[in-house]
Each structure stands twice: as C-alpha cells, then as structure tokens.
C-alpha cells in the first residue's frame, strides 16, 4: 500500500459525501481566500503609497527657509527668507550625499493665449529641478543651464495646463503664452504625474527658468531665495546623511551657535514615505492575522467532520484491519482525506482569493500584483492545518481495536 493507493480511496470517500466535503472545505477556502485577498489589498495600498511618493521625486529632501517672528506671532517656515543662492551653491559643492539641488520659487499667475486663459501655479526653477523630480517631457524639451543664465522667456507646461489652454491632445510647442503681458514661448509639455499624496494635481503647473522668474515676475535679482531648495540624495539610504550634511553646511553658513535653533527646515520625504509604508504594512499584517484565524477555524471544521467520519466508518476500519490493514495504513487513509480536503480547499481558496484581489484592485483603481509567495504560503498553511487537525481523528481510527470495530453498529 502506497500513496497511489491511498489517494483514490481518499477521493472516493470524500466524493461519497460531496456536500459535507464541500462544506468542510469551505472553511479552508474562505480562510485561504481571505489571506490572499487581504494581503493583496494591503500590498496594493502599499504600492499606491509608494507610487504617489515616488511621483514627487526620488530620494527627495526639501529645504525651507526659517520663520518670521512678529510680536510673538511666528510666521511659519518659509515666511522669512534665510536661504541664499550661496547656500544653494554650497549644498551642491560641499554635501557628498547630494546628487543635485535646485531652487524653486512659486507664484500664482494667469496664463493667456488668444482664446483661452488659465490661472495656475507658475514655478521659477533651476534646470536641475526636472532631474530631481525625475520628470521628462511628453512633447518638446526642457530648458537648460544656458536658458536659465540668459533669462530666456521659455515655458514648460504641465499636462493639465496644456490641455486647458490649447485643448486636450494638441501640440502647443512653439506657441506663445502671455503672463502679465510678457510673452513666453512654449518649450515642452511634461508627462503626467497624477495626484500628490494630498490629492492636488501635480500636472496643474507651469515652469519657467529661475532667472526669468526673478527678472520678469519677481522683479529684480535678489540675494535670498524666496522659495525652497529641492535636494535629491544619491540613493534612498543617503537621505538621512544628506540631511545631516545640509544641516551642518547651513548652520555653519548662517553662523548659528550651538544653542541657536535652525533658521531653516529640512523635510525628508523618503522618511515620510517610509512611515506611510510602515502603516500600510502593519495594516496588512493585521488583516492577514485575522484571515489566518479563520483558516484555523476551518481546520477545526475538518477535525470535526473527520471525527464524524471515523465514527461512521468504524465497521469499515474493522474490515480493513481484519483483511490486513496495519494501523499506519488506517492512519494514512484518514490523513490523506484530511489533507485532500484542506489542500483542495487551499487551491480553490488561492484561485478565489486571487480573483477577489484582482476585482478589488480594479474597483479601487489599484494595480494588482500577484503574490506567488503569499499563495504558496497560504496553501502550505492550509495543508499544515489539514495535517494538524487531521492527526487526532486519524490516530483515533488507527488505534481502534479490530474486534470492537467489526462489532460496531
């Protein structure tokens, strides 16, 4: 007697009580399906958070200037310009963990074309900005160092703005836009970035060279940067080091004593993203834990029905023993039934759970990432549940006395 003999017997026994077998399996099916779908939903949420944050730029740090203090009322970060162009140059030159640094100043302005206008956020940026944000053009090109130096009247539009001014799908590259009566030539259209973590539209924006911004919009060159410095660290693990380096450079340049507070503020977006990731991870673990509980409950269902089955088939066990079944043969037969129940249930659960996860993902507009490891793990766990909860009834069957079993009515 070997596995090839045990399995058909197990199948036949389960097939005899189709409804009962299915209901028993249902516990495992629901357990496995919920593990799979819960983990997938958690993973989807994580991927979504990750996508949103990476839309802002890779390994991003934002340096804000300090706060004004007027009669005890603190103006908040950025209200008092403390960051200078020399600070920016120092960060670029002296912080080894920094890949690139860009300045950004922003104002709201109305963009006019012949037959349309749109009010949006207009940013004056140094050319490194696009590299830091990891932002390419959909059409046309980006302005470079020379354009910035010469104060060229060029503009790069976000996809939303381009659509509003020129209609969706049009190619406005080379056309002219006026901002406060100053004509700008459209140089490029940026690819879509989607929504920010707070829900605002990344694409409802337009960028012009920083020098042009200072000359045409702000009015005259300034010593201070009336905006922010965006910094991209070399790698995601370097963001902390970059933060420390920049803090050191700025404190030194701003002549702050050891007791003085920073007159600037650095936001480490990678850390914020990581914190968000941790949150969703904890949620995923919690959901998976609940699902595993239901899997264990399913296992108890298997044990229950196997005990009923052993009692019902006591005579059969007696006959098998009388014609030469050893205790381990009987054990193997009932273990095979428990494992068949749990493993078929596990397989159905994997399929069902994956479909549910896919459905949920499409409803919520997330990307569905099939997780082979979760499926394998859930299936293995369901097999283990079948083994653990099948063992007691199977041992009970194997320990039956052949005479008592034969006499059982």
């Amino acid at each position: 007697m070997n596995v090839a003999n045990v399995l058909p017997i197990a199948f036949a026994a389960l097939w005899r009580n189709k409804t009962r077998s299915f209901l028993t399996m249902l516990g495992i099916i629901i357990g496995v399906a919920s593990v799979i779908s819960m983990v997938a939903v958690g993973e989807g949420a994580k991927a979504r958070v990750s996508a949103v944050f990476s839309g802002m730029g890779t390994n991003l740090l934002i340096v804000l200037s300090g706060s004004t203090s007027s009669g005890g009322v603190m103006g908040g970060f950025g209200s008092m310009p403390t960051l200078t162009w020399d600070d920016l140059r120092a960060i670029r030159a002296q912080a080894p963990a920094v890949r690139a640094a860009a300045a950004q100043q922003t104002t709201r302005a109305t963009l006019m074309v012949d037959d349309a206008n749109w009010t949006t956020s207009v940013g004056g940026v140094t050319p490194e900005f696009f590299e830091i944000r990891d932002w390419q053009t959909l059409k046309g090109s980006l302005f470079g160092e020379t354009d910035d130096q010469t104060g060229s009247k060029l503009i790069v539009l976000g996809a939303t703005v381009a659509g509003r001014l020129f209609g969706p799908g049009s190619d406005p590259v080379g056309r002219t836009i006026r901002i406060r009566a100053v004509p700008f030539v459209v140089l490029g259209i940026l690819e879509r970035k989607g929504q920010s973590p707070m829900g605002s539209d990344y694409d409802d924006v337009a960028y012009i060279p920083m020098r042009t911004f200072q000359n045409q919009i702000q009015g005259g060159l300034q010593k201070f940067i009336a905006g922010i410095i965006m910094v991209s660290a070399l790698t995601s693990v370097d963001t902390k080091r970059a933060q420390t380096e920049i803090t050191g450079i700025l404190r030194d340049r701003h002549h702050l004593g050891t007791m003085d507070d920073d007159d600037f503020n650095i936001r480490n977006l990678t850390e914020i993203a990581n914190a968000q990731q941790q949150g969703t991870k904890a949620l995923t673990s919690l959901l998976a834990a609940i699902a595993i509980v239901s899997l264990v409950v399913g296992g108890i269902g298997i044990m229950n029905i196997m005990l009923v089955s052993v009692t019902e088939r006591t005579r059969e066990i007696g006959v098998r023993m009388a014609v030469g079944a050893k205790p381990w043969h009987v054990l193997a037969q009932f273990m095979a039934e428990a494992l068949t129940l749990s493993m078929i249930g596990g397989m159905i659960g994997v399929v069902l759970g994956s479909s549910l996860a896919k459905l949920a993902a499409s409803k919520l507009g997330w990307s569905y990432v099939p997780r082979l490891d979760t499926a394998v793990l859930a299936f293995a766990f369901s097999a283990m549940v079948g083994f653990v909860f099948g063992l007691y009834p199977a041992r009970k069957a194997a320990r039956l006395d052949p005479i008592d079993a034969l006499r059982f009515e």
Binding site: M1, G318, V319, V323, G324
Partner: protein, 242 residues
C-alpha cells in the same frame, strides 16, 4: 496432492486464557484452552452464546491476543506480536468470513476482493487479475462490478469468500457463515466451502447450527471458556459420496 496431515500442525495453542475484569468480577472468556489443528482439517466450534467460542476464534484468527498462553500459527509464535505484525499475519496466512459478510458498501465486488491484496502491496494489474479469478472461482465472474447492495445474501457471502481466499491463505476462519442465509443458500455456500476444503484449505467455523457442523471433520464444543468435547467425524458430503 501431498498428504497435508504429515506436515507440522497449523495451529498449536497451549493454555490460552482470555480474562476480562468487570469491577470485582473476573470473567474467563477462555480458560486453559489447548488446541491443535492439523493442516487440512475442517473444524466446527460449537457452543451456546457466551460460551467463549467467538473469543476463541478471534484469538486463533489473530484479531485478538490471549491474556496468557502460547499460540503458534503455521510454525510461528504469534501471541506476542504487535498490532502491525498481527495485521500482516491476518493478511498473509488467514482469511475471514463473517456472519454479516462485512463487505465495504458502495464498493464493487471486485474492489472488495482486491482489498487484502492492496494491503499486501500487490501491484494493481495483478490485483485485478487475482480478484477476478477469485470471484470466478466462487461463481461470480459476471458480477464483478456489482455493489453489495445489488447482490443477494448468498452472492454477498460468496464475495466475502472470494475475499478470504484471494491472498491464498493457509486457513480460513468463518463466524456463523450461514447465519444470515436461507436454507437453500446455506447449502450452496457450504458446498463451496466443501470444495475449498477438498482443494486443501484448512477451515475453522464457529457455528451453533448442527447442519453446518455436519460438514466438518471435527467438532469442538466450548462451554464456559473450556473445550468440553472434541470429536472427529466423517463429513457430510463424504457420507453421501460413500
């Protein structure tokens, strides 16, 4: 055919006791039973209910172990064997026929007969062939796929007999094999046993029917756990043939 009676005895039981304790009462289901069965004998064990005849058959059939005493079956001491080893002895040396047939319901006649071969580890094709041969031997070659519920009582008992002989045992134990059958069917089944006996099988029956005991070559009477009578006789069909 070799004279089986010249080989060492098949069953050698000495001072068998089977004792049950119910509270303060000690019940001897078997009390000092010693018994030798030679190869080729047809033994009928008779006695009133509760006499211990079923217990004796269970012990001799390796379904149960004696409380004390020794028992050698086919030259091997089996009273000290473990459950697994006893199962092997039942599988290889013994065939059982029960009063209520004890076939697996919802399982075909062929599969019922195959069962001992499954536990003997015989490959599937050979199992099928031997089970078919055994069923043909008992006259059920045309009922291979029938389930017990689709067969008459006599046919069911024939399936059980086929199951008992399929593994070519040395001895067959039968517990009231005609107890659930009508007279006509009983005679048919007893004739089948007669044929198997003629082919050299050793038979041990437990019965309370004198008609059945007439077929045996030896009749034991058990009472209160003891063998009170042990008589050799000329079997029924031999009388008729003479």
């Amino acid at each position: 055919m070799t004279d089986l009676r010249k080989e060492p005895p098949l069953v050698v039981a000495r001072h068998l006791y089977k004792t049950y304790t119910l509270g303060d009462d000690v019940l001897h289901a078997l009390a000092d039973v010693s018994l030798t069965v030679n190869r080729g004998e047809f033994v009928a064990i008779m006695g009133p209910s509760g006499s211990g005849k079923s217990t004796l058959m269970n012990v001799l059939g390796c379904l149960d172990r004696p409380t004390s005493g020794t028992y050698a079956l086919d030259g091997r001491e089996v009273s000290t064997l473990g459950r697994g080893e006893l199962a092997t002895v039942r599988n290889r040396t013994i065939g059982f026929v029960f009063q209520n047939f004890n076939l697996l319901s919802r399982t075909s006649a062929l599969e019922n007969v195959e069962l001992p071969l499954v536990y003997a580890g015989i490959p599937r094709d050979e199992r099928r062939r031997r089970a078919r041969e055994a069923l043909e031997r008992v006259g059920l070659g045309t009922r291979l796929g029938h389930r017990p519920s689709q067969l008459s009582g006599g046919q069911q008992q024939r399936v059980a007999i086929a199951r008992a002989i399929v593994n070519r045992p040395k001895i067959i134990f039968a517990d009231e094999p005609t107890g659930n059958l009508d007279t006509k069917t009983s005679i048919e089944v007893m004739h089948l046993f007669r044929e198997l006996w003629d082919e050299g099988l050793t038979l041990v029956f437990v019965t309370h029917e004198p008609d059945v005991a007439l077929y045996a070559s030896r009749v034991l009477v058990v009472r209160d756990g003891r063998v009170v009578s042990d008589v050799a006789q000329l079997p029924k069909d031999a009388v008729l043939a003479a």
